[in-house]
């Protein structure tokens, strides 16, 4: 079985996000980029499935310009067998990404697609669900545990009410949550090995997918700055201060 893993190049979780002064987007100049942490967890799980003998090949996929090859190489260094960059100069929206994934799933005859539950930049949480619908296959989202047996997957999902266990038939789409696993460190010699692993570049047009722009960004605004607080002496003053501000 082949597993396709989607990895997105995003601003590193450590970076303080700044909105550009003209509101046209988020500042990425000189900013550290890395693999979306949820996607890294998806890749780790895919590698563990392969290491347990339940898959033959793990393929990492990213959609974007040449700069995302950096993240694909990291994925290869973690242990993926090969990489596909779907080349696109413009930033793609979830529906287009799901359509592109579907083409790759058909091309590769993948038995499982593993994705992060959301990317930490757009926070959309749409691609996995859209892909499952387009593909007509089951989806198991927000996975915190995954067990494969035969052509079925037992998935524990993190839902508002607690944990939910569902069984899905393969092929399927699984989107993963934070607690599923802790990704491995990359061994230094594996970085060298990753340089020699195959990385295929496919222009998005060659997949027969036309970028759609159903969503338009109109503006970006940073959250309001927290106002300076005051120290109150006692409960009575607290109540009084709240009242003068019309909060009580």
């Amino acid at each position: 079985m082949k597993i396709l893993v989607g990895i997105k190049r995003v601003i590193d979780y450590n970076v303080r996000i700044r909105v550009k002064s003209d509101g046209s987007g988020v500042e990425t100049d000189g900013v550290k980029m890395s693999i979306n942490p949820f996607d890294e967890i998806a890749l780790e799980e895919a590698l563990r499935i392969r290491e347990a003998g339940n898959a033959d090949e793990v393929i990492v996929v990213s959609l974007g310009g040449n700069e995302c090859q950096q993240q694909l190489r990291t994925g290869l260094a973690m242990g993926a067998d090969r990489a596909i960059q779907v080349d696109s100069a413009e930033s793609l929206q979830p529906l287009t990404i799901a359509r592109a994934f579907l083409k790759l799933v058909e091309k590769e005859q993948a038995g499982l697609v593993m994705l992060g539950k959301q990317a930490i930049d757009g926070d959309n949480s749409q691609t996995a669900q859209m892909l499952a619908a387009l593909w007509g296959r089951p989806q198991a989202t927000f996975a915190s545990a995954v067990e494969l047996s035969g052509n079925k997957a037992m998935v524990t999902r993190e839902v508002d009410a607690g944990l939910e266990r569902i069984e899905v038939d393969l092929p399927a789409v699984i989107s993963v949550d934070l607690r599923l696993n802790e990704p491995r460190f990359v061994k230094l010699p594996d970085i060298m090995k990753a340089k020699r692993k195959p990385l295929e570049v496919i222009p998005v047009e060659d997949l027969g997918v036309a970028p759609e722009n159903d969503l338009q960004f109109t503006s970006h605004t940073p959250p309001p700055v927290r106002e300076k607080g005051i120290m109150v002496e006692d409960a009575a003053q607290l109540v009084a201060e709240l009242k003068t501000r019309g909060l009580l």
């Binding site: 970076v15 491995r184 010699p189």
Partner: protein, 539 residues
């Protein structure tokens, strides 16, 4: 590559360089320019190249012209020609411009972000075939059977606070190479080990250091004059403390502001961080930052000792270059050109002679050392205070260092005066309202990140001293000299002293001040897990 149960995996290179700063990258680039088939690797503890680099920085372009001809056709992302130069003397309320000493004339120089410059050099090195490994810390030296340096040992990953392996444990590998080049910058922890082991400093003065604290600001429109370089001496430092400020106007309404304090200050109550923040509130400075916001910030020590503190820079199997050796030219307040030139020179030497032997002589006969020799008496001249320092600086500048004398440096850790012998210095600090509020708020702008569940990388060799002698003699100076508030004394009635030292290692910005300034020399800075530490942007 081999792997057995007890043996570490090994990778072999012709040359391993520790540290992807300007010196290390320049060395790697030159080696591959001269000898493309040479196997060269660079190990960098920062999560990416530039993440641990902090500098002013105004640079002289000559070294880059030599290494990368035509570099200005494809310049680094931050690169603004200096348009205007100013140096001023501050009192608490006034500012007076003073004549710019010749070393500090910056016509023809460029304001850069050294972090961005290194991130710009790294892909050029990779294009030449250099293997750069950011996120991996060289934790130890690998010695050969005959006692020479034979490479480095990469730190283990996934070790918990007690030193036990976690689920993610990964043993670090060994990198073997006939020649190891230490380019760790100021107070490199491996360089420190090697200087001691091979007694490289037995014929030189102790190294002298300063700590530089810097912030990058986005200022309100109209305040930034790109290319303007401003320096000051005087307030908020008393005349016995050496140091000063820099303000560099960059592009896009960005201004770099920083303050450097020599670490041979004598007042145990002094706080370099507070001095920097006070400087920002000087009436001539504060308006620049009002209405602005901090983009990034951090701290790093610099070497100040110059020619007489330069240790021997070669040993069996290894070389020191850049600030790991101690090549910064303090009167110029510049080290980048020296770092790049020393990396280039080391590469030339290695390719010409087939190894590192003789590099100490090569460097001492080069313009790199001549430049330091000429200004050698200026920094130690300030050991007797600001006024006598300025007079010495004037004399040494006029005579171009030709007077047959060499003033000496002393060890920074020995300069604190015990509280009982100390006359209290009044520091009438103003109430501050510019960001950051305090050191914890400041660390936020360094975006420093360490996995909390790993061994504490600030080793206290004798914790007894902290709560007993140090409290009485110096009132815990570590709680003030650290710009990132790593050291805290916590009231603890269960202990004999009623206090205990808490080390907030996750705050550390890898500046090395503690390793240098601690008066008992019982703080040993070792590298945490690779990829940990600050994530500086454009510093």
């Amino acid at each position: 590559m081999s792997e057995t149960a007890n043996e570490r995996e090994v990778m072999e290179y012709d040359i391993i360089i520790v540290g992807a700063g300007p010196a290390g990258l320049a060395c790697a680039i030159r080696l591959k320019q001269l000898k493309p088939d040479m196997m060269v690797a660079v190990i960098e503890k920062g999560a990416e190249v530039g993440a641990h680099i902090l500098s002013g920085a105004v640079i002289e372009p000559g070294a880059l012209d030599e290494l990368l001809p035509g570099w200005l056709d494809n310049p680094p992302p931050v690169c603004i020609p200096v348009a205007d130069d100013e140096i001023a003397f501050l009192t608490a309320t006034s500012k007076r411009k003073i004549p710019t000493p010749p070393q500090q004339r910056n016509h023809g120089n460029f304001i850069v972000s050294l972090g961005a410059l290194c991130a710009w050099m790294a892909p050029q090195a990779e294009d030449l075939g250099v293997d750069i490994f950011p996120g991996y810390a060289a934790a130890g030296i690998r010695y050969t059977d005959d006692g020479a340096v034979g490479g480095v040992i990469i730190g283990d990953m996934g070790v918990n606070r007690e030193g036990q392996p976690k689920d993610t444990y990964m043993q670090g590998i060994e990198i073997h190479a006939p020649l190891t080049v230490l380019a760790e910058g100021s107070r490199g922890h491996l360089s420190k080990e090697l200087i001691t082991k091979y007694k490289l400093d037995q014929d030189s003065d102790p190294q002298a250091y300063g700590v530089g604290i810097k912030e990058l600001w986005q200022v309100a429109p109209g305040k930034c004059k790109p290319g303007t370089v401003q320096h000051s001496i005087g307030w908020p430092l008393d005349t016995s403390t050496y140091g000063g400020s820099f303000i560099y106007h960059m592009d896009k309404d960005r201004i770099a502001v920083g303050f450097v304090c020599a670490l041979d200050y004598s007042d145990p109550e002094f706080s370099p961080f507070e001095a920097f923040q006070q400087f920002k509130h000087h009436p001539s400075v504060k308006p620049l930052f009002e209405g602005g916001e901090i983009l990034s910030g951090g701290a790093r020590t610099i070497v100040e000792g110059g020619a007489q503190s330069l240790p021997k820079i070669e040993m069996p199997g290894a070389l020191l270059i850049g600030d790991a050796a101690g090549l910064l030219n303090l009167p110029k307040i510049k080290g980048t050109h020296q770092a790049i030139r020393s990396g280039t020179l080391a590469a030339n030497h290695v390719v010409e002679t087939g190894g590192g032997r003789g590099f100490d002589t090569t460097l001492r006969e080069s313009p790199i050392f001549k430049e330091l020799h000429k200004v050698r008496n200026i920094r130690p001249g300030f050991n007797k205070g600001l006024w006598r320092g300025l007079i010495t600086a004037g004399i040494e500048t006029i005579t171009a260092g030709k007077l047959p004398r060499t003033l000496h440096n002393h060890a920074d850790h020995s300069s604190l005066i015990k509280l009982q012998d100390m006359q209290t210095i009044e520091r009438p600090w103003v109430e501050r309202d510019l960001a950051p509020r305090d050191r914890l708020a400041s660390v936020y702008f360094a975006t420093t990140d360490h996995d909390e569940d790993q061994p504490i990388h600030l080793q206290i060799l004798d914790p007894e001293v902290c709560t007993t002698r140090c409290g009485e003699e110096y009132n815990y100076p570590c709680t003030r000299f650290c710009p990132a508030e790593v050291y805290e004394m916590i009231d603890d009635p269960d202990t004999k002293a009623g206090k205990r030292l808490q080390i907030n290692a996750a705050n550390c910005v890898h500046c090395k001040t503690c390793d240098i300034k601690d008066p008992y020399q019982i703080i040993n800075w070792v590298t945490p897990e690779g990829g940990a530490g600050p994530n500086y942007q454009n510093l």
